[in-house]
Symmetry: C2
Subunit: 138 residues, 2 copies
DNA sequence: GTTTTTGCAAAGTATTTGCAAATGG
DNA sequence: CCATTTGCAAATACTTTGCAAAAAC
């Protein structure tokens, strides 16, 4: 049976308070401020548990260590190919359905039972797009 | 300037000959049969080069080390949540466009310039679906 | 001959595990 | 009390790097 732990609660709240899809290490330093004795292993163990509990999502960026996402709303991810920030893009019901229908149809091609889908977008984020424009003008 | 290398050629051919999205290590053992002196660092270095050259794609499964894909046709990936095999699903022109249009529209939500998209499907592959059915009957 | 690539070993990241002590129910 | 969780240190898994020798051009 799963027992409450102060550490797990802090990790979950800390993750929910940020929108930047931190790595385990980033969360570790964040939480160390409120609880200096905490160990990195506790972070990894709890993130793994929280994933299994469906409270948190582990995501794999193109570059760098795994990141974590505490957003439980329906959304997809955008990764900037320049600064590697990851952003959530929330999607509305009707969009979801349109895409899902199209995608689920694809899994018929290999005779598999598709349970879920994951969509990633890549490109330049707002910030990096702006920077790119400045550099062109120089 | 990039020079030809027997090793790189072998790695690329070996990857193109298989459909199982091997890890660097799996390719290493495969290629060791034809060239026993080869080192694992050569595999990693060349896979990384081949990625930059656009000959090969590095993909991140939910579980385990990075995998590599030598299929240059338009396709998406299906990962079995049971056996963790990864399969290609080829998509036809008209399907691609429908999905792409829907997806690219999403990136407008965050004011980013979307350059590419990646779709993953998850579920039970044909093999594991069959096995699951047998177990239910027992 | 110069530049690139190789194989090997060592180093570097990221993550997991074993274990005795602490905490939760 | 018993089960779970913790912090620490050590172990593991995966990948990259430095370097002298070999291969490509």
């Amino acid at each position: 049976m799963k027992k409450y732990s102060k550490q797990r609660e802090l990790i979950l709240q800390s993750l929910k308070n940020r929108i930047d899809h931190p790595t385990a290490e980033m969360l570790y330093y964040d939480i160390k401020n409120q609880m200096p004795e905490i160990g990195i292993a506790t972070i990894y163990r709890n993130l793994s548990d929280l994933c299994e509990m469906g409270e948190v999502q582990k995501i794999k960026p193109k570059i760098g260590p795994d990141r974590f996402d505490g957003n439980k709303e329906e959304h997809i991810h955008f990764e900037c190919t320049q600064c590697h920030d990851i952003m959530d893009i929330s999607i509305r019901e009707n969009q979801t359905k349109k895409i899902d229908n199209e995608i689920k149809r694809l899994s018929e091609n290999i005779d598999a039972e598709c349970k879920s889908a994951n969509i990633w977008l890549y490109g330049l984020c707002k910030k990096c797009k702006k920077l790119a424009n400045i550099n062109i003008k120089d």
